[in-house]
């Protein structure tokens, strides 16, 4: 039978307490870590639960277009004159070209504006009448038919599902008002059309 001396008992107790210190130290560190993790998770979760949210997710794809012709000088026009979007004013159905330079297929819409300038503005409408002009673009598959009515109030489709790197030729037909105001000073008038691309869905 082994006998434990008083000195040995002291050593055993010392070791026991030393070990206990280590365990306590470890427990403290572990507890701190657990508390930190709980805080890390709990604060945002508590915030989310307490407040209404708006989550926004984004699809990162480039929608991008170019167009070859950006200017159009119509020149002096007579009543009811028809002028085409081309270098000469004559009909040229593929005068301008849109290219899809983005990373996804896109739709391209068009919108026009009234013509401002001089003493009297000209309003863009479906038919050319007094102080009102009309603007139509041509369509895919029937390029000589100008049946896309360009409006000032909303965008309308010019082309849809244009593939990446694909091109689209187009032009426009302008018809001057069938009656001008005699009081108009004949000053220069300006307008714009806007082509906007968005992802084809």
């Amino acid at each position: 039978m082994m006998q434990i001396t008083a000195e040995g008992r002291c050593r055993l107790l010392e070791n026991k307490y030393k070990g206990g210190d280590k365990v306590r130290k470890f427990r403290r560190i572990a507890l701190s870590l657990v508390l930190a993790v709980v805080l890390l998770l709990a604060v945002p979760l508590a915030t989310m639960a307490a407040n209404p949210t708006v989550a926004i997710t984004v699809t990162a794809q480039v929608v991008s277009i170019t167009n070859t012709e950006s200017t159009w000088a119509i020149g002096v026009v007579a009543v009811d004159a028809v002028v085409y979007f081309s270098a000469t004013g004559e009909q040229d159905d593929d005068y301008s070209m849109i290219t899809n330079t983005g990373s996804v297929a896109c739709d391209v819409e068009i919108q026009g504006t009234d013509i401002d300038g001089g003493d009297y503005d000209w309003t863009l409408a479906a038919a050319a009448t007094n102080q009102t002009y009309q603007l139509y673009a041509n369509t895919e598959g029937a390029p000589t038919v100008y049946d896309v009515e360009v409006k000032s109030s909303s965008y309308v489709d010019l082309t849809t599902d244009l593939a990446v790197d694909a091109t689209w030729d187009w032009s426009m037909e302008f018809t001057a008002p069938d009656e001008f105001s005699a009081a108009d000073d004949g000053g220069e008038k300006t307008a714009t059309v806007t082509l906007v691309a968005s992802k084809h869905v």
């Binding site: 209404p52 489709d157 082509l195 968005s198």
Partner: protein, 171 residues
């Protein structure tokens, strides 16, 4: 004792750093995505974010930047507006966001000048009123930027399509 304090400080510092990184991951994401090669525009006008999904509760608000790309062909000023989508081209079950809810959006109220070959980032904020009655609908609106070139007749723009669902149930 000093060791314990040091360990405690370290743990708190690590926790704070982790929280900050987690909370700002969108900023980190935004920072890095500025350098993707696709953002090198050639000509014309483009947008980086083709589609955006918004899922919100009444009283909630959030913001997002849209990146408009300007080609190397001209200096342009970008004007950001909301446009109603063509109802015939929407996914099944979606409708154009009615005009009366356009004031949920805050857009840049002035044009953003962008040099040829550059880009701009427009902050779009969506704020859903607490008392909205427009709940559990699938709505679509376009956020578009037209790059106005004063020398041009045909202006170019690009739009991102925003899909919006507001529900009373908090996510």
């Amino acid at each position: 004792m000093k060791k314990k304090i040091l360990i405690g400080v370290l743990v708190v510092a690590l926790a704070a750093a982790g929280y900050l990184i987690a909370a700002s991951h969108y900023l980190v994401y935004d920072y890095f995505r500025l350098y993707v090669p696709e953002l090198d525009p050639n000509e014309g006008v483009g947008i980086w974010e083709s589609e955006v999904g918004v899922l919100g509760n009444p009283g909630g608000a959030n913001s997002r930047f849209l990146t408009f790309l300007n080609g190397k062909d001209a200096d342009r000023t970008f004007y950001i507006t909301l446009q109603s989508p063509n109802p015939d081209k929407l996914p099944l079950g979606y409708e154009p966001l009615p005009l009366e809810y356009y004031d949920w959006f805050t857009l840049p109220d002035e044009g953003i000048p962008v040099k040829a070959g550059g880009y701009c980032r427009a902050k779009i904020t969506v704020e859903v009123p607490c008392d909205t009655d427009y709940l559990d609908k699938n709505a679509v609106v376009k956020v578009q930027g037209v790059g106005f070139d004063p020398s041009g007749y045909a202006q170019l723009g690009a739009a991102s399509i925003w899909y919006i669902v507001v529900t009373a149930t908090e996510e």
